[in-house]
Structures are given as structure tokens and as C-alpha cells.
Amino acid sequence: MIVNIDYYLILGIFLFFIGFLGISYKRNNFIRVLLSLQIIILGILLCFAGLGDFMEDRMGEAYGFITLLVSIGEALLFLGISYAYFRKSGDIEIEVPDKHKERGN
């Protein structure tokens, strides 16, 4: 173990926080939401790899690989949905409905 496990976990949590901030704050574009989700998954993968190295076991890496497979599938699904949205509306910007306008206030 070259680097302490704490650094890996802190870095992973920090990445998770950045991605979460991106989803909750800048959710006006499909691609940006997708990139934020992938940043979150990168943080999780980093935690897996650090823990696997710390415990001197390949199990962390194996679970990281499976998570990677599922995350790639999720990203492809997201791209498919955004492609369908783009063909429907001609833009990848997400239109968030204004609740006040819907209520007629």
C-alpha cells in the first residue's frame, strides 16, 4: 500500500460531492447530468480500488469492474433517452416546468 486508504476515501467522497452538486445545481442539460453521474461513479470506483488495495484482496477490484459494467450500461441508456428527446424537441436542453405557471398563479 503506497498511499493511505484515507486519502482514497476522501477523494472518492469529494468526487461524489462534486457530481451530486452538478446534478442538483446544473440540471439544465442532458449531457451535463450524464457527466455528473459518471463523476459520482468514478468516486465510487476509486473507493472500491482503494479498499481492495487496503485489504490486499482482489474483491474490491472485481466489484469495481462489475460496477463499471453497470455504469456504462446506464450511461448508454441515458444517451438513448437523450437521443429520443433530441429527436422529439430538437434540443438537449431540459425544460424544467415552472410549478407556479402550471397552477396558474
Partner: protein, 177 residues
């Protein structure tokens, strides 16, 4: 330790750029750079297989995102992006030169991997205890965790089917109209 902090700094920097940058193309390039930094950190934590898998799969994903964003742009914005063309050419030349150096060093060394015909898969005992962890991890994935691998592969297959069916349904709807 210094390398870890260097790559961590760049990782956080590129992650913040990819999340908060307004231009989607630049955000996707920054995301690719952050994936590169994460792969370097994986190698530091002795997870070489995961590093290579991450790099290959996310590079493909980023290229798809890049193309999708580029095709959804207006013509004026596309011509504006041509100012990055010289930078792209220089980067491509640097990568090609690096690739050439790697191949030359592989074929010129005495223990050339591609030239050594005595290395066969059948002569190896599993699990291999070598310096690189690929054999060990493959044994773990396809022997101990085979069920999870198959489930994740089926999920990938179903997702691909979903995407294809979404596109087909949309095409049929358009033709009906």
C-alpha cells in the same frame, strides 16, 4: 505520494470543469482528462485491470457524447469549434509518436512478448501468481463471481435492446405520420 496528490489535484480540477463548464464539448474533454487521472490513481492502488477497463470504456463513452453533442449543434457553433483543430493535430502526433516508441521497445527487446512462441495459455496453471493481476482477477471474475458478471452482462444486453427499440418505435411513429 507526490504523484498521488498531483493526479488528485488534476482529477478534482477536471471534474469541476466537466460539471460546471457551460460548453458541453469542453466539459466532455475535461471528463476524459479526469478519467485519465482516475486510471492513474487505479494503477497506484495496484488495480491495473480496472484502470485499463475504465480508460477504454470511458473513452468510447466520451467519444459518443462528443459526437452526439457536436451533431446537435448549430452550423455556426460547429465552425467556431474549428479553432481547436491545430491543437487536435498536435495532440494526435504526440500520441502517435508515443505509440510508436512503445511498439518499437516491445519488438526490439530480448524478451519480446509477441515473438515468444513458448508462452501458451494451456501450459499455465490457474490462478497465476504473477506481477500483474489480470490472470488472478479473471479467475476471480469468471470463477467466483461468475453469477454477478452474467447478471451485469444481461443488464447491458437488455439496455442495448431498450435503446434499439426506442429508436425503432420513434422511426415507425415518424413514418406513420
Amino acid at each position: 505520494m507526490v504523484i498521488f496528490f498531483l493526479f488528485s489535484f488534476f482529477l478534482i480540477l477536471f471534474a469541476m470543469i466537466s460539471v460546471f463548464r457551460k460548453d458541453t464539448l469542453e466539459a466532455s474533454i475535461a471528463f476524459l482528462c479526469s478519467v485519465f487521472c482516475v486510471s492513474a490513481l487505479f494503477i497506484l492502488s495496484r488495480a491495473e485491470f480496472l484502470a485499463i477497463a475504465t480508460l477504454i470504456s470511458y473513452t468510447g463513452l466520451t467519444i459518443i457524447i462528443f459526437l452526439f453533442t457536436f451533431l446537435s449543434m448549430d452550423t455556426k457553433e460547429r465552425s467556431f469549434k474549428r479553432r481547436f483543430f491545430p491543437l487536435g493535430i498536435i495532440t494526435s502526433i504526440v500520441f502517435l509518436v508515443e505509440l510508436g516508441i512503445i511498439f518499437l521497445s516491445l519488438f526490439s527487446s530480448s524478451d519480446c512478448f509477441f515473438c515468444n512462441s513458448s508462452v501458451t495459455l494451456s501450459s499455465r496453471d490457474y490462478p497465476m501468481k504473477t506481477d500483474n493481476n489480470v490472470w488472478e482477477l479473471s479467475y476471480l471474475l469468471f470463477h467466483d463471481l461468475w453469477f454477478l458478471v452474467i447478471v451485469s452482462s444481461i443488464i447491458l444486453f437488455l439496455i442495448t435492446l431498450c435503446i434499439m427499440s426506442i429508436s425503432t418505435i420513434k422511426d415507425e411513429e415518424r413514418e406513420d405520420k
